[in-house]
Symmetry: C2
Subunit: 406 residues, 2 copies
């Protein structure tokens, strides 16, 4: 299977994608409106938040994607989420989509195609329509084949660094490129994409292939991270494929496999980028659960550890208080046998088959104090396994979220 | 139905209960071993943590209670939880129970009856058996009819104040007293008793009546509070009834109803005491969900709000960012209709039938900055309702839990 090679450029790395990021004034500082366009149209697939009270962009985009036709791109803003805004908010999202579609069509003299919308930020406020209109006009003027970095910046909320990734795969039919931009910071928990992520590719995909490829890539990446266990109302992961490479990726076969591996790698890299830039993060943990009765049980246990405020506080303190891992596994609902559980912090065994090791807590202080901590829980019951990345719970997480709105 | 009257004395307020709290050195400071005895024996019932990896005291006590015979009392220590300690830990818990049973029987020349055990604190360390033995001997010497306050102190871990309550009810058959002591602070989430709570009464109860009365009282109190959503491995609520008042409470009828109301009031008071003394607490919220499609849905929604780190951070900041309540309701799994939800902070409407009120966020700053904040979410769908108490997420919660172990 061909290897992939990491390259620069983010969402504009694949052929034929234009992007920009400008300031329209919805946030206090910095770029807050991004435009991503592939004027000739592209196949699109999306995964959305499981929250039952989603924002209007989620409602609108699901509707656009259900028509299965090509889209012209994405317009995104940060600062205001357009959630819980009543009918006025839906009109605004529709107007934003229509205006972006019009400017893209006008610029290239192309057929007008729908534009997907993404918005994140404060809930319960209707975004200022005039600012958004002005932003779209400026973003249109700024569109460029090297705009990936600006676009990644424009979607940030409490993120401190933009997340932008791209890779190239040399398939038998020729090279194919996949690019991506994501934002995270808070309200990051699984149950689908719990942030904004935009993936572009110049591979040629059918709508069915795009959907089939996106799901496992998201499940193994954005659905395996936790910052605070909260499920945002605005989150989505969109995949846009414009076919410019001339390389078709069909349902199965070796090219699809290599493409899927590349897509998974890109999504995993962006997902870990999100955890590394979590609100208030000081330390990141990669949790591995093995020996579970099933993969589902392993996932339950891993998620329970990843979302426990007590485990996350101990991670912040660099404190190998593995009793909290035991507690979190026990409350997870996974099948357990207290006499078969073993826990490692880094390579240090702290619990072996249910009994504490003699000097484990002392020896584990070192590996627990790293910037990236590895933890393994072996349940000793079967072959089920799962991994999870999570951030610590720090003073700054609380500070950021106590002061975010006012 | 007769009213109840609050009185002093905690677990020793009912007739015939002796208690003490002494220092044996398991914690850094203060009393850390408590003894509670009713030498003539009492009927006992218990509810225990739902964690599948519980501590040895939970395993031992369930075994004792399954025999349905009278017990002599409870021995409890704080500082070390005796969880994840292998076979050595079980031997220790059994030895602790046997020694306490022996000293109580010897002191009163009574028949030897089993003693229940409760232990909380650090997980993964075997408590020092010598310290516990010495503690039990001292606690026996200190037993008194006014020892309720010392007992309540001895079970504290990161609690800053003891929680001790008692009330008297004048039933037709005569007065009956109920007393209680509880500890909480962290790892407080529902799914049964998520802390230690000991309830005593001089009413005369059969084992069946004790069990039947305890469950609804715990469901409406200790199972309606959340500090961090973590489910401890050590938690239990025990009810001991020694019959000294001579007033029998049978399965049904008016005296049982009045007793149940008093027991519920006592458990609720202790539960709210726990939230008020949560780790790092600065503000407490009473959440009310109404208009849900069912009581179950109301509970899902209330719990989701109560456990959301983002809602809890906003509570700490006194920030009426009700969008996070919307988010938490949406992720709860409860049936929702975005056009029917209304939210109040105190008496200020911030969202009415899905639309933000014009000046709600500004007006809600006042009620959101109180020591006790009331929030109401009306889902506008049916008659389902539920309440929940929760604490905020503060710098100090993180500090306490980052530094607790090392």
């Amino acid at each position: 299977m061909p290897e992939h090679e990491w390259i620069d450029g983010g969402v504009t790395a694949p052929e034929g994608f234009y992007a920009s990021g400008v300031r329209c004034g919805l946030k206090e500082h910095g770029r807050d409106l991004g435009l991503l366009a592939s004027p000739a149209g592209c196949t699109a697939a999306g995964m959305f938040t499981s929250n039952s009270l989603p924002g209007w962009p989620v409602v609108l985009d699901k509707d656009i994607l259900e028509r299965h036709g090509p889209v012209a791109g994405v317009v995104a803003n940060s600062g205001v989420a357009n959630v819980a805004t009543g009918a006025e908010g839906l009109d605004l999202a529709k107007g934003m989509s229509a205006r972006a579609a019009a400017v893209i069509a006008a610029r290239w003299g192309a057929e007008e195609r729908p534009v997907l919308v993404a918005q994140t930020g404060v809930i319960g406020e209707v975004p200022d329509a005039e600012k958004i209109t002005r932003g779209i006009i400026e973003a249109d003027l700024a569109l460029g084949l090297d705009g990936g970095a600006d676009f990644a910046e424009a979607i940030m909320t409490t993120d401190t660094v933009p997340k932008s990734r791209a890779l190239r795969i040399d398939l038998d039919g020729g090279p194919v490129t996949i690019g991506g931009a994501a934002k995270g910071a808070g309200m990051i928990a699984p149950n689908m994409a719990t942030m904004l992520a935009f993936i572009t590719t110049d591979a040629s995909l059918s709508p069915d292939a795009a959907r089939a490829l996106l799901r496992p890539a998201v499940d193994g990446s954005f659905n395996r991270i936790s910052i605070d266990g909260d499920t945002s109302t605005s989150d989505m992961c969109l995949l846009l494929a414009n076919g410019k490479s001339g390389v078709p990726i069909d349902a199965d076969g070796p090219p699809a496999e290599a493409f899927a591996a590349g897509l998974a790698a890109l999504c995993q890299a962006l997902a870990v980028d999100l955890v590394r830039d979590a609100e208030g993060v000081t330390r990141v943990c990669r949790m591995e659960v093995t020996g579970a009765a099933s993969d589902g049980d392993a996932l339950l246990a891993a998620r329970s550890v990843a979302e426990s405020p007590l485990v996350k506080s101990a991670l912040f303190g660099g404190d190998p208080n593995w009793g909290r891992i035991w507690m979190a596994v026990g409350k997870s609902g996974a099948a357990t046998d207290p006499e078969r559980i073993s826990i490692h912090v880094g390579r240090v065994p702290v619990l072996e088959a249910g009994s504490p090791t003699s000097d484990g807590k002392r020896l584990a202080v070192g590996p627990m104090s790293q910037d990236e901590v590895a933890m393994t829980v072996d349940l000793g019951l079967g072959d089920g396994r799962a991994h999870y990345w999570f951030s610590d719970l720090s003073y700054d997480y609380v500070k950021i979220n106590a002061e975010y709105h006012t």
